[in-house]
Each structure stands twice: as structure tokens, then as C-alpha cells.
């Protein structure tokens, strides 16, 4: 009985979430308009407009320091903690500006998950890692947590490998397993968007292949934006690709077009490895 009430409350909670209105189906999940980003006086992003479609994989490519990671981190406001950070323009998710004053940043980050460059599991058990996102929402129901942890680990195909020792430290896993654990941890809070900041750059080819496969499977349920330095990876897994250079969006189109017939000379030069 008590569990049912809790789950019911959880559902009510979800319905109340003001940020994402699921009844309005918009073509564009994420919209950025006139975005400029400053770190003190340095202009890291110089006016970018971009729309990102739901349930697609969008790849950001470009040389180091081109602003692609900064741009990615705008969508879950992870730049907010950097000293001297300032953003101009509007970023909206499902039509709602996420930099409004009223926005609850914690709530936003539950909707917009993030996977980082280096696998960064908490120095806790595998179970605790996946359950953390739920626990901080105040969910204590053990059975619910267990189910959710299992479900999330299954989604990233890690369940079979770790099901017998969920209490083992997450730090004892291999790098590839750790990164899949981090993705599972993100999935457990049920985001609708997942941001990935070079998620495979610290992994070996086999682990990379597993993550790429996973991204492919996840896209039916989530909107995925991925920053990558690996051209082949962008070509393999993304539907649309954006090429950034020096804080500007040079070209943004379907991945096929970008890699076979780019409009701009700069894009072609970068993709063919002539610079960057």
C-alpha cells in the first residue's frame, strides 16, 4: 500500500514538472537563439542559432577550444559554476527558456542528463552510483530503487556483468564498464535529453564500440547531443552534425551531407583532416 502511494506520488510529481510539456510535440527539442558566451571578457561563443531535433543524435565536431563543449554545457547549465561565465541569447527546451530566473536548475538537470569525457563514477558501490540520482529526489523505497537500478543497468547491458556484486566499488570496474555505469546512472533519473561530452575519448576501441551501439539504441527514447573529436564516430552514429570553429557554428546539416558534400570549404578541410 505504502509503496503504491509512493509511486503514485512520484507520478504526480512528474506530471507537475513545469519544464517539459510532453503534450506539445514540437519538432525541435532544443532551440538556441543568438547565443553568446563570455568568460570574463573572452568571447567563447560568438552568436549561434541552432535547433536540435527530438529523438535524433546530433554530433558537435570541431578543433579543441572551438566552443563545442561550452555550447553543450549550456543545455544543462553546467557552465553556471565557472567564474566569470555569462550567457546572452535564449536557450529553450520544448519551447521554454531554461535561463529564466524562475527555472529550478536541479529540476532541469534531471531532464537533461550528462555523460562526461572521463568516466566519473562516485567512489561508492555500483548500486549506490545508479541509485544516487533517485535518492537525491527523496526516493527511499528500496524495492523501487532496486528495480530502477536493475532496469538502468540492463539498458546499458551492464547488468549481466555486475548483477552478482552490486555492492562492489564502482572504481573496481574497467574504464568501459565505468562509462556504461555513468550512462546507467544518468538513465535512472529518466531524462529526455542526454548530453555526452566526448564519452569515448578515454576508452579502448571495444568499449567505444559498445557505447556507440548503446547510443544507437537509446536514440529512440532520448534526444542525444554528443561532442566528439572522432570524425568516424560522428559519421557512424549521428543523424545531424554541427561543425564549430572559433566560437562560431560554421555548418550544421544532416551528417550525410556534412561528410559527403559540405557547403563550406572550412568544413571540408576539417573533415578531410587538412587542419584541426
Amino acid at each position: 500500500m505504502a509503496e503504491k502511494i509512493k509511486q503514485l506520488m512520484l507520478m504526480v510529481k512528474k506530471e507537475k514538472e513545469p519544464l517539459i510539456d510532453k503534450s506539445i510535440k514540437r519538432q525541435h527539442k532544443l532551440q538556441a537563439t543568438g547565443i553568446k558566451v563570455f568568460y570574463n571578457n573572452f568571447e567563447a561563443i560568438k552568436g549561434i542559432d541552432m535547433n536540435i531535433k527530438a529523438n535524433k543524435v546530433t554530433a558537435f565536431i570541431g578543433p579543441s577550444g572551438c566552443g563545442k563543449s561550452t555550447f553543450l554545457r549550456l543545455f544543462n547549465r553546467m557552465n553556471d559554476y565557472i567564474d566569470g561565465f555569462r550567457v546572452e541569447g535564449e536557450i529553450s527546451i520544448d519551447g521554454k527558456d531554461i535561463y529564466r530566473k524562475k527555472v529550478n536548475v536541479e529540476q532541469l538537470r534531471k531532464q537533461v542528463g550528462m555523460v562526461f569525457q572521463k568516466p566519473n563514477p562516485f567512489p561508492k558501490s555500483i548500486f549506490e552510483n545508479v541509485a544516487y540520482g533517485l535518492k537525491i529526489q527523496g526516493i527511499k523505497d528500496k524495492k523501487f530503487l532496486q528495480e530502477k537500478v536493475e532496469e538502468s543497468l540492463k539498458q546499458v547491458s551492464l547488468w549481466e556483468e555486475v548483477k552478482d556484486d552490486l555492492n562492489k566499488s564502482a572504481l573496481a570496474l574497467s574504464g568501459g564498464q565505468q562509462q556504461r555505469l555513468c550512462i546507467a546512472r544518468t538513465l535512472a533519473v529518466e531524462p529526455s535529453i542526454i548530453l555526452m561530452d566526448e564519452p569515448t575519448s578515454a576508452l579502448d576501441p571495444i568499449s567505444t564500440a559498445k557505447i556507440e551501439e548503446l547510443i544507437f539504441e537509446l536514440k529512440s527514447k532520448y534526444t542525444i547531443v554528443i561532442v566528439t573529436h572522432n570524425m568516424q564516430q560522428a559519421a557512424r552514429i549521428s543523424d545531424r552534425t554541427a561543425f564549430f570553429y572559433m566560437g562560431e557554428l560554421v555548418e550544421y546539416d544532416s551528417t550525410k551531407k556534412i561528410f559527403t558534400n559540405p557547403e563550406k570549404k572550412q568544413t571540408e578541410n576539417y573533415i578531410t583532416g587538412r587542419f584541426g
Partner: protein
């Protein structure tokens, strides 16, 4: 060829110098400990620990001073811990990095270098007189808490700072608030480091004499303290008192009390080292 030989010679010379430096410290310490042990070890028995102070050296014990030290240690911990950790968390995680926070930082580091007798004078004025605590254990604990606060703050900040930024990122990215990140990730991950700093600070507090003499701790207390408002003595003061007496018997007592005091600090340091190693292992593997 000549050059290589020269370098090798320099290398050897420096090695010898380094060994000499290390040995000097070790030798001095072991001579000191050895002479203390020779003098005092025969005096240590259960009676010595449980006897009240006395005019005759043979019957005198450290019971009141030891209980005084334990009281001071416990109360100082209770006072300094929340204040020090709270301040450290604020400075490290909440405070905006700017001029004000860097001024605060420099001043806290400076406070760590203020002579302890100055803290005694502060304690005398603020706790003993203005707050009317008298020359009590409570006043002594507050004074020592102030004394070790800078050390606790600095070491706690270092421990929190040592938690990789990626842990913070991961926590925030999952929708954790600042306090959740601090309490559920940063504090557990830095627990060993924080504890190490606190134990080292406390082992300094347990050896402090000057500030407690200034606030009026007594050399002779006939009864063991039973409440925070009681008058008290502590081991270092008892040692100081015994050494300053002319009779030979009290010198032996002092040596014995020094052994007990050293034992307490060594044990505390050992605990600190243990936790530091355990914590480093946890973060690194």
C-alpha cells in the same frame, strides 16, 4: 667523462648529507625518549594513573590531570569540529572566489601562526571574564578550540579540494543541490583527510600549556573534574609543576607523566596516519 664523475660525486655527497639530516632528528628523538623511559617507566603503574595529586611524590598520581585532559579534548572537539568543518565547506564550496574570500584565506592561514599564549589572553578576556565562565574546563576548551580552528579549517579545505572535480560534475549533472553534493559526495569522500587534520590539531591541543595557564588552569586540583564548569588541570601543566619542584621524586613523576602524554599523542597520530592511508586507497583505486 670528468663531468659524469663530478655529478656522481655530488650525488653521493648529497645522499650522505640527506642521511645525516634524517638521522640527526631520529637520534635526538630516541635519546630523548630513551632518557625519559629510563627515568619514568618504573614509576608507571595503575596507582600512578588513578591517584590524586599529593604532596609526597610516591603517592602522587595524574588522575586529575588526565581526566582534565580528556575533558578538554572531548569538549574542544565538540566545539571546534562543527565550526571548522562548516567554515571550510563555506569557503571551499559556497563562497564566491574574489577579493573578500582571498583576504579571509590569508587571515585564516595567519591565525594558524599566532602564538598560543595570545589565544590564552583572548580566552581570558572573552570566555573567563566577559562570558563569566571562570577558569573552567569550558573556558579552556573554547580557548583551545579557537587555537586549533585555523588548522581544522585549512586541513578540511585541503581534503575537500582533493576530491576530483569530476565527482562534483557528476553529482550536479544528476540534479543534486549544493548541499546534497557536499553532504553525500564531498564529505564522505574527504572524510579520511578531514579526520587526519582534526586528529593532528587535537594532538596539538592536548599538549598546549601556555593558553591554559593564562586562563587560570590550576597546577594543583584536589579532585577530578566532573562537569564542564569545574576547575581543572591538564597533563602538560602537571608535568610543568612537578618539574619545577626541588624533590627528586617529582622529577621521576614528571618523566612518567611525559610518557603518558607522549603515548596519547603517538596514538592519535597513528590513528591519523591509518585513516589517511585508508582514504587515499579509497580515492585512488
Amino acid at each position: 667523462m670528468n663531468n659524469i664523475k663530478k655529478n656522481r660525486l655530488k650525488d653521493k655527497l648529497f645522499k650522505v648529507w640527506g642521511i645525516a639530516c634524517t638521522l640527526l632528528g631520529l637520534v635526538l628523538l630516541s635519546v630523548f625518549i630513551g632518557s625519559i623511559l629510563i627515568d619514568g617507566l618504573q614509576r608507571i603503574d595503575w596507582d600512578f594513573i588513578t591517584n590524586l595529586p599529593s604532596r609526597s611524590a610516591e603517592r602522587a598520581g595524574i588522575y586529575t590531570a588526565l581526566t582534565g585532559s580528556v575533558w578538554i579534548l572531548v569538549l574542544t572537539t565538540i566545539i571546534a569540529l562543527p565550526l571548522g568543518i562548516g567554515a571550510a565547506i563555506y569557503l571551499e564550496e559556497y563562497a564566491k572566489k574574489g577579493k573578500l574570500s582571498s583576504i579571509l584565506e590569508v587571515n585564516i592561514s595567519n591565525l594558524a601562526g599566532v602564538p598560543s599564549i595570545i589565544y590564552g589572553l583572548l580566552g581570558l578576556e572573552v570566555f573567563v571574564r566577559i562570558l563569566e565562565m571562570g577558569a573552567s574546563i569550558l573556558a579552556g576548551s573554547f580557548t583551545l578550540a579557537l587555537l586549533i580552528l585555523p588548522i581544522v579549517i585549512v586541513s578540511t579545505r585541503e581534503a575537500i579540494k582533493a576530491v576530483p572535480k569530476s565527482i562534483r560534475d557528476a553529482s550536479y549533472a544528476l540534479g543534486a543541490s549544493k548541499w546534497q553534493t557536499v553532504s553525500m559526495q564531498l564529505l564522505p569522500a574527504s572524510f579520511g583527510g578531514i579526520l587526519t587534520g582534526i586528529i593532528l590539531a587535537l594532538s596539538r591541543a592536548v599538549g598546549e600549556t601556555a593558553p591554559l595557564i593564562v586562563i587560570g588552569a590550576l597546577a594543583y586540583v584536589p579532585f577530578a573534574p566532573s562537569s564542564p564548569m569545574d576547575e581543572f588541570s591538564v597533563l602538560p601543566i602537571q608535568i610543568f609543576n612537578w618539574i619545577s619542584r626541588p624533590q627528586k621524586g617529582f622529577e621521576v613523576n614528571a618523566a612518567a607523566a611525559i610518557i603518558i602524554l607522549l603515548l596519547i599523542t603517538f596514538i592519535m597520530n597513528a590513528i591519523a596516519v591509518y585513516f589517511r592511508n585508508k582514504w587515499q586507497k579509497k580515492l585512488n583505486n
